[in-house]
């Protein structure tokens, strides 16, 4: 029987109340969101916080909505307490970024997804976290509130290392913001994951986000060019869950199979996997490259569908 070490429990009734409780209990307190990573770690005594601040009553942090309209591109705002099941069921999220639905379908199982949250997954900062690669590929930003007010951090600067983020012990992640592509561009996104069995953490996974546009100087039958590429990798030791060199390689190039394959080779070389029970280094490198290619291919196909 797995029993956590003793701790104090307090339930927050608002974001401000949660911040007060975090200040009161100090740095040995942990925020309890969905709890489906934290509670198992506590049961295994890998984590032994002195107090849990339960934020499950903060239903005002559970939303998925598009903000801003008019000629400028808007933002998809996702509240930190949005459950995985809600993100998977969200039409607006899937419509703008199918990568969310690709990833959520393979995160744990339906019952766990009823409980686990988007913000909790990111703050847990597991080096194999699927959503970390998804938000990195999307170049999202994280809205963090603390005693000094609210600050916004690019998600590519959010993770400081395994199980460590920039969220301070007296702060709370409250929202993720994903920029919508500018009008006039075709965009697509996709997520590809290899796991040992259904619902498991990835052996490796890759997310791709492509913004494509035609160059006026190109012949009419030429493939569109990559305006911007986002490539997220997880479980393979990629810095900030990003394949930055592969992204840089694609920028400005025609969106072709040859370039995607080359980007996959670059991603495979630039990540830094570790051997463990899920596989040796060379296998994980192979997966990182191959899954990058597949994600790019599918993202490009979706961008063409949108443009058609």
């Amino acid at each position: 029987m797995q029993v956590p070490a003793p701790f104090a429990y307090a339930r927050a009734s608002s974001v401000d109340h949660a911040l007060d409780l975090l200040a009161q209990y100090g740095p040995e307190a942990r925020v309890l969101a969905g709890g489906h990573s934290l509670i198992p770690m506590m049961k295994l005594r890998l984590a032994a916080p002195e107090a849990l601040i339960d934020i499950n009553d903060l239903t005002d942090l559970s939303y998925i909505r598009v903000e801003g309209d008019g000629p400028a591109a808007g933002v998809l705002a996702i509240g930190a307490m949005t459950r995985h099941a809600e993100l998977l069921a969200s039409t607006v999220a899937g419509q703008h970024f199918p990568i969310f639905h690709d990833a959520e379908r393979v995160i744990a199982d339906p019952i766990v997804r009823n409980r686990g949250t988007v913000g909790g997954s990111l703050c847990q900062a597991d080096p194999s976290e699927d959503l970390a690669a998804v938000f990195a590929a999307l170049r999202a930003s994280a809205v963090i509130r603390g005693p000094a007010g609210t600050r916004t951090v690019p998600i590519r600067e959010f993770h400081r290392g395994p199980y460590e983020t920039v969220v301070g012990p007296d702060e709370l992640l409250i929202e993720l913001r994903v920029p919508l592509p500018p009008p006039g561009e075709a965009s697509g996104s996709a997520y590809e994951k290899v796991e040992r069995r259904a619902g498991d953490w990835p052996v490796a996974a890759a997310g791709a986000v492509l913004r494509l546009a035609r160059d006026p100087g190109d012949p009419p039958d030429a493939p569109p060019r990559v305006v911007e590429a986002g490539i997220g990798l997880t479980a393979v030791g990629a810095a900030h869950y990003v394949a930055a060199q592969a992204e840089e390689f694609l920028r400005g190039k025609p969106a072709t199979e040859e370039h995607f394959v080359e980007a996959g080779q670059i991603a495979s070389a630039e990540c830094n996997p570790s051997a463990d029970q899920r596989g040796p280094v060379d296998y994980k490198r192979h997966l990182a490259g191959e899954l990058t290619v597949r994600a790019l291919r599918r993202a490009a196909a979706r961008a063409r569908e949108v443009a058609a």
Binding site: Y9, R11, I39, L52, N114, R115, G199
Partner: protein, 188 residues
């Protein structure tokens, strides 16, 4: 240090003093004696501990009892009504949806939730819904059939239908065995 919590379990308010580290599954089993909810892998994988928390299926080995304070919980004991077994329970009976029965409580709670939200699920949708739950003896075929049976026999039609011969179950002998006949004799 303990906390006083009140949880409405299957419609009945239950108040207990518990440690914050007590898991909901142990609260139900050890504090309330509701041992229908099983305690399996302890790692949120197997799903035999699934109960409803505020109407949503959760793995109760990964929820603290204090998190259920002021909330409603529904367990497998809350499925049967005065009118009889819930159709999902009857479906497991009709279609041989269990052998050892260890995974059954979680399967039933997920099945009931699925049918409440999708009264006519496809086989694929049923398989997806129970994909976070493990069965290690019956296999999933009969569980899927049992949930389909429940979809085809919504509440109210259970008693009449269950009296029909089991024509669609080739694994069940159509004819009474000598043992059955003996039971009938004894009853007579």
């Amino acid at each position: 240090m303990t906390m006083r919590i009140t949880v409405t379990v299957n419609g009945v308010e239950q108040t207990r003093e518990v440690e914050p580290r007590l898991l909901l599954t142990h609260f139900l089993r050890d504090e309330l004696g509701l041992t229908g909810t099983h305690w399996g892998c302890d790692t949120s994988n197997c799903g035999t501990c699934v109960v409803w928390l505020e109407g949503t299926p959760v793995k109760s080995c990964t929820v603290l009892a204090v998190q259920a304070d002021g909330r409603s919980v529904r367990t497998v004991e809350g499925l049967e009504t005065d009118a009889g077994l819930d159709p999902v329970q009857q479906g497991f009976v009709e279609c041989h949806g269990l052998q050892c029965g260890f995974c059954t409580p979680g399967m039933l709670m997920t099945a009931r939730w699925l049918l409440d939200h999708n009264p006519d699920p496809s086989e694929q949708e049923i398989r997806e819904a129970i994909s976070g739950q493990l069965c290690r003896c019956t296999g999933y075929e009969n569980i899927v059939r049992a949930i389909r049976w429940a979809a085809e026999h919504p509440a109210g039609s259970v008693t009449a239908e269950s009296a029909e011969p089991a024509a669609e179950q080739p694994t069940v002998p159509a004819q009474a065995t000598p043992a059955d006949a003996a039971v009938e004799e004894v009853r007579a």
